[in-house]
């Protein structure tokens, strides 16, 4: 490699290409033994078919380490300045619940993404892909440790932050849904499905929602540590997400129908997760004055427009359920939030009732749906007005709610006038799905999902208690100290105590 006298060293771009593509053609072992189809994924193509694999973000180990070091230093500087307990005490009590929700669902999922990337680093079919997936794995390990470290500081102030680590080890219903998604997306998927599902759909499709939208709201809410954490993490995601498009490009050339099916499946599954995670935070937990746009507006700008453009560039169509998805932008996260508010003891973060100003804002942002949702909040407010102060269970559900057999989330799809849940009998067993896309995903690969029981079926099988309090405490792993409550104990200045119920 040493250049001779007079020979110039390679330009950076040429060097990065050279340093990235470091594999060789195997001659002592058959290619399908080195990359067995069962784990390398379909379509199984001979090596030369992957020769054109390329993505725009090239880096070397030296550059990578220097950049990450710089980012970590910058993040820890922000923590040391504005990320201590005393800083969090000053924030709006509603906002910190968006933080608890993100803090619990992300870090250990990021660790699962380490495994997914490492599988691609071994079984990805292009040497350049394997190199970039190795950097992706390093990224995800960083994303595991950063929130674990930063939130640990907050546990001594608020025990609900302990769920940053506990969440995935629990049988909490949200954790069951999250593991169902993460196990398949990050741990079980072969490198091709992983690249399309995680790198292309999840990270490319939805990354900007966090990177741009959530970071802006965190800044507005005064949570500079969360803002810094999100931008620091998402700048990694934006880089390694480029693996997805590169894999999809080759996949489309050889099996377009399969590529479309993967995109359709993972867009829906990702949407349901982000609707809860980001939808709650943007439209309910962010103080009104810090809301720059509604969740729907962010989705339209950063996901819908850009994702459709990206699909078109790959020669793919919008998912078959697009009209259903567009309708759910107006309803789904609102229906889950109102439902979860009335079952807040079943989760590890607190909720707030949207007041008159928030509801006016929501009505303006969601003119299609809010008139159907507002009566729910009227009813909840009326219940609080006649409840004893701080008696959370006076405004709480008692029946066991029902869950989707695919996404494992509550049956909150469709509209209040017509819930879209659908029952399907499969091999003598009845299953219920929150939506047609969830049913379609199940029916496409029933062998992948059929053995998994959602919470209701666990209750009916005697594996989980049927009494709600016992279910919350003994199965979901919550105690009075850390289960979700109304963040203000139902004492809102705009409520009139002692008013008769409507």
């Amino acid at each position: 490699m040493a250049p001779g006298k007079g020979a110039g060293v390679l330009k950076r771009e040429e060097w990065l290409d050279l340093a990235r593509d470091v594999g060789w053609e195997p001659s002592y072992v058959a290619e399908d033994e080195l990359y067995p189809p069962e784990i390398a994924g379909r379509p199984w193509l001979p090596g030369p078919a992957w020769a054109s694999w390329d993505e725009p973000y090239k880096t070397s180990y030296g550059e990578y380490v220097a950049k990450q070091h710089e980012k970590d230093n910058s993040l820890y500087a922000v923590r040391d300045t504005v990320g201590r307990v005393e800083d969090y005490r000053k924030l709006d009590p509603a906002w910190t619940n968006g933080l608890k929700l993100h803090a619990a669902t992300l870090p250990l999922a990021e660790f699962a993404a380490v495994i997914g990337n490492l599988r691609a680093a071994r079984f990805g079919r292009s040497s350049a892909w394997r190199t970039m997936a190795t950097f992706g794995a390093l990224d995800e390990l960083r994303h595991t440790h950063i929130p674990l470290l930063l939130m640990h500081e907050l546990v001594r102030w608020d025990r609900q932050f302990d769920w940053t680590h506990r969440f995935y080890h629990s049988n909490n219903w949200v954790a069951i849904a999250a593991r169902h998604l993460i196990d398949e997306l990050l741990l079980g998927a072969n490198p091709i499905e992983f690249a399309v599902a995680t790198n292309f759909v999840f990270e490319t499709g939805f990354t900007n929602l966090q990177f741009v939208g959530l970071a802006a709201m965190a800044r507005g809410a005064g949570d500079h540590l969360f803002e810094k954490m999100v931008t620091s993490i998402q700048s990694d995601e934006a880089r390694h997400a480029q693996i997805g498009g590169a894999v999809l490009r080759i996949l489309v050339q050889h099996d377009r129908a399969y590529a479309q099916a993967l995109v359709d499946k993972w867009f829906w599954r990702s949407w349901l997760l982000f609707a809860v995670l980001t939808g709650f935070t943007m439209d309910y937990f962010t103080p009104l004055q810090a809301r720059t746009q509604s969740f729907k507006e962010f989705m339209q700008e950063w996901v819908v427009e850009q994702f459709l453009q990206s699909l078109a560039e790959h020669g793919l169509e919008k998912p078959w359920y697009w009209e259903t998805f567009l309708e759910s932008l107006d309803y789904y996260h609102h229906m889950v939030y109102a439902s979860a508010y009335t079952y807040r003891a079943s989760v590890w973060f607190n909720f707030v009732v949207p007041g008159p100003d928030e509801r006016a804002w929501l009505r303006q942002k969601y003119p299609r749906s809010w008139s159907e949702l507002d009566p729910i909040w009227e009813r909840i407010s009326a219940r609080w007005e006649r409840a004893d102060p701080g008696n959370d269970f006076a405004v709480h559900g008692t029946a066991i709610v029902s869950f989707c057999d695919l996404c494992q989330l509550v049956l909150c799809n469709g509209t209040p006038a017509r819930n879209s849940a659908v029952v399907l009998e499969h091999q003598g067993k009845k299953r219920i799905f929150c939506s047609e896309p969830c049913r379609w995903i199940f029916e496409r690969e029933p062998e992948r999902y059929a053995s998994h029981d959602e919470v209701v079926k666990r209750v009916l099988a005697g594996q989980a208690p049927a009494n709600l309090i016992a279910l919350v405490q003994r199965y979901f792993g919550l105690t009075y100290d850390d289960w979700g409550k109304d963040a203000y104990g139902g004492r809102y200045p705009w409520m009139r105590a002692g008013k008769e119920p409507r």
């Binding site: 889950v336 439902s339 029946a399 909150c412 006038a417």
Partner: protein, 79 residues
Amino acid sequence: MIPLYGFLEGDTIGLLILAQPEDTIEELAEKLQASAAVRVKPMERVTVLYKRRALDPLVTVARAGLTALDRFDVVAERS
């Protein structure tokens, strides 16, 4: 006991309702409305739908043909 998925018009979520075979359809509707009352004010006059068909409020759950893990809907009575 027959576990059923109940959906109340105006509500945001489906609920698990444990019905007895001898419960009338009217009582089944009351159970669902009571379970959802924290979010939706109970309606006085309702119709119970099963497989898009309105059920006789006086017939029993068993007689109406509802079996475990079926979906039923309670909607406002249309005049």
